[in-house]
Amino acid sequence: MTPHHLAARFAGADRIRDEIAARTPDAVDHAARTRRTIDTYHPRRLDLRVDRVVDETPSTRTFRLRRPDGADLPPFLAGQYVGVFADGTNRPYAISSSPADLSHYDLTVRRVPGGRISSHLLDTLAAGHALTTTGPQGTFHHNPLFHGEDVVFLAGGSGVAPAMSMLREIVDRGLDRRFHLLYGSRSLDDILFRAELDALAAGHPGIRVHHVLQEPDPRWPGPTGLLTAARVTELAGPLDGRMVYVCGPQALYPYALGQLTGRLGHPRRRIRFEVNGAPADPTRQPHWPAGADPAEPVTVATRATAFRTPRGRPLLDALEDAGIRPESACRSGECGLCRVRVLKGEVHHAEEARLRLSDPDSGYAHACVAYPLTDVELDV
């Protein structure tokens, strides 16, 4: 450091130079420390090992993941997910274990009919195997700043996984939070965590659990059918501004939204939906252009390659089919990691795409919920 040639002219310059000279040298390795902080809280990747596998139901297993060296995992908020890498792609899975115990993450995986990755994990992943994930992330979690301490959770199927984490946290940390779980399952044999849920409810007055079975069963005396407005009110009482979380199959979302806002007049901003993948059928969204056949192939070109893919396949999946793996995590339009630039051609953005206001100016799309309507050229 050489002072400016005018420095000495300034009143007080000597005092400031003395102050600089008198300072204790900062000997901290800031680069190492910064890296450590980021790795502790928000690593891009976690290299984990399957510690054990628990059979929950005939179609569902919980994989308990630990670090190979047994060290604590990054902290997370109950409800958050990690992206699991498998078979050339990745999928988000909510952590079902408690954030109060960072020695492991539990991922509860149900076989999705026709689901390549859920089947791959259930059929091949065993104790001792290695598994790579993203760090925990996601916005579907209790936020004490405005969610309140009296909440309702509508879960469908394996959508109970984040609720499980939230409940376990309440118990482990002794939180003074009322939590009302309405949990819909197809059949008696499909109910996940049933014994633990019932024990939690029995042991904690703030925790209420109601199972609702979609199909009647002679062994089941409880409520059956859909989570209708009437059923919600009957089981959870008047919602009265309570935060309502919804996690389950895609079909549950528009239905729950209609029941809660339309029938019960619950404010939209007091309902939070967990993201749940690209739309099963993008053409059913009203802004899908008329006449665009989703089955018809178009050409997707990147700098490295060009390939054909049907219009109705999300760009992210199409790229992965071609061996290109953009960074991605939520695969639901929200996290923005798979942001790509469309240089030529036209893509369709599904309603799920949480684009920024300025994104269209430069042709950005979230590849996981973007569809090539014409031949396109991408900067990936």
């Binding site: 009143a11 390795d29 980021i38 004490p144 206001l357 100016d361």
Partner: protein
């Protein structure tokens, strides 16, 4: 033209990295821009939550000025060919500044209006205000002249007399009313030093920048600006790699010869511009010890302050919330020294900057709603004693203290929260990669003044160039300018 893969590699797509890369590429230097994240901008970005988009860092852009006004930032955007792509949103007021029970003043963004308003609130100060503002203008004029190389004998003595004095001394000399002094010094939070330690030249520069050129924002927020600068770079043929970190700056014979990326790929280049922090930049030097002069210099500098921010989406209009100005400073009392000391702790927030992005809308909130950010400065070290498992609890507990403070000016704000996300110094560290999550680089006290630090001019490693808040002043205007300036200097050295 060398045989290298690129003429230049720019590390980091923050403000200075972007303007450096775009300036280089547009001048014909083949440039690779490397960014760890998925979007350009560094601080200058935004993110989506629910119905809202949240501005991350830009509160008020200084230097835009009116069209045709001299010495503004506009030519920088024009030279990059993007001046007409940005929609500027002007703010008529500097700020509303409040100490509950003491004062509540909204200062218009012009010299006469500000003088009149202050004289109305604090009668009998008109002449003093005119004298003070004249000093602000004159000192800033001469400071810029001196920095641009005007010979010493032609520089007015007032610069040397007042430039490095603590701002508080100069305020004490002009005014008696502590409240008036606090109102005038409200921007100290944008610089991170209380008036007792802030060099007057910095306060004067900031007041001048906003009073003369007005505060601005832009449609689409700072991300629109970052995106447009990136577009200028790409349209000129530049290469960008997102999701990619630089692991090492490669040297041979004491000179920079390229970088190694985190996938192991080595990229050769004759010049490397670093928009990363100085400790990390020099720490990445491969095959070269950090030069002694640099080592000594860095050891005498102090990692600066970070921030704690609540990004909020509110289900109410600014009018319903009672927001009349885009920027509102709320302080518990007049004791700036105590407030600054509190930034090293997690004691309840004592001062916040409340920015309402819908008094003059930038397009981030749906109709009938408001996007607001609450921010206090805070050092990363305030979080050193927090165990990772307790982080979330501590984060939300501290966030409540910012809400408590904003409730003094917008009672009931908690009841209309639709979205809120919290960023801590650790969040800043994660996204910026900066030690301590520092947002303005090193602590910007008098020891960081241009009179004493010359990292930007003398990086001490041939082929290495430094551009950003760590080698100059922090904030949007200074860093945008630094990137373009460093790139022009690099280009001149190549042709020389």
């Amino acid at each position: 033209m060398s045989g290298a893969d690129f003429d230049a590699v720019v590390i980091g797509a923050g403000n200075a990295g972007l303007t450096a890369a775009a300036t280089l590429q547009r001048a014909g230097a083949r440039t690779l821009l490397v960014e760890r994240h998925s979007v350009p901008g560094g601080c200058a970005t935004s993110f989506r939550r629910g119905r809202f988009e949240f501005e991350v860092a830009l509160h008020q852009l200084s230097g835009i000025g009116a069209e045709g006004q001299a010495f503004t930032l506009r030519p920088l955007f024009d030279e990059l060919g993007i001046g007409d792509r940005l929609t500027w949103v002007g703010e008529p007021d500097l700020y509303r500044t409040v100490v509950p029970g003491s004062f509540d003043v909204t200062l218009p963004a012009d010299w006469e209006g500000a003088t009149a308003t202050l004289d109305a609130h604090f009668p009998g100060n008109h002449a003093r205000l005119e004298r003070f503002f004249a000093l602000v203008r004159d000192l800033t004029f001469w400071q810029i002249a001196a920095m641009r190389g005007t010979p010493a004998d032609q520089v007015d003595e007032l610069l040397f007399r007042h430039g490095l004095r603590p701002a508080r001394d100069v305020l004490d000399e002009h005014f008696e009313d502590e409240r008036l002094k606090a109102v005038l010094a409200s921007y100290w939070g944008y610089l991170g030093q209380p008036p007792s330690r802030l060099p007057f030249q910095d306060l004067a520069l900031v007041l001048f920048a906003y009073l003369e050129f007005k505060p601005w924002h832009l449609r689409g927020g700072s991300q629109a600006m970052s995106g447009a600068i990136l577009d200028a770079f790409l349209e000129a043929g530049g290469d960008v790699r997102f999701h990619t970190a630089v692991d090492a700056i490669l040297t041979r014979g004491g000179k920079v010869v390229g970088v190694r990326l985190d996938d192991g790929q080595e990229v050769s280049a004759t010049d490397v511009v670093s928009n990363a922090s100085l400790p990390l930049t020099y720490g990445m030097l491969d095959g070269l010890d950090i030069p002694g002069a640099v080592r000594t210099d860095l050891a005498s500098r102090r990692i600066g302050v970070s921030g704690f921010v609540l990004h909020m989406g509110l289900d109410a209009t600014p009018a319903e919330l009672g927001f009349t100005a885009s920027t509102t400073f709320v302080n518990t009392d007049l004791d700036a020294d105590r407030t600054s000391a509190s930034w090293r702790t997690r004691e309840p927030a004592r001062g916040i900057c409340v920015t309402s992005y819908d008094v003059e809308p930038i397009g981030f909130a749906p109709r009938g709603a408001t996007h607001v950010s609450l921010m206090t400065l805070q050092y990363g070290s305030a979080w050193d004693d927090v165990e990772p498992a307790a982080y979330a609890r501590e984060k939300f507990a501290y966030a409540e203290t910012l809400l408590d403070l904003v409730e003094t000016v917008t009672p009931g704000i908690r009841g209309v929260i639709e979205e809120v996300d919290v960023a801590t110094p650790l969040t800043m560290s994660r996204y910026l990669g900066h030690p301590g999550g520092a947002i303005y680089g090193y602590d910007q006290d008098a020891t960081e003044s241009w009179q004493f630090r010359d990292s930007e001019l003398h990086p001490h490693v041939p082929g290495l160039h430094l551009a950003g808040s760590w080698s100059g002043m922090g904030g949007f205007q200074p860093t945008l300018e630094a990137g373009a300036r460093v790139a022009r200097r690099l280009l001149r050295s190549r042709t020389a």
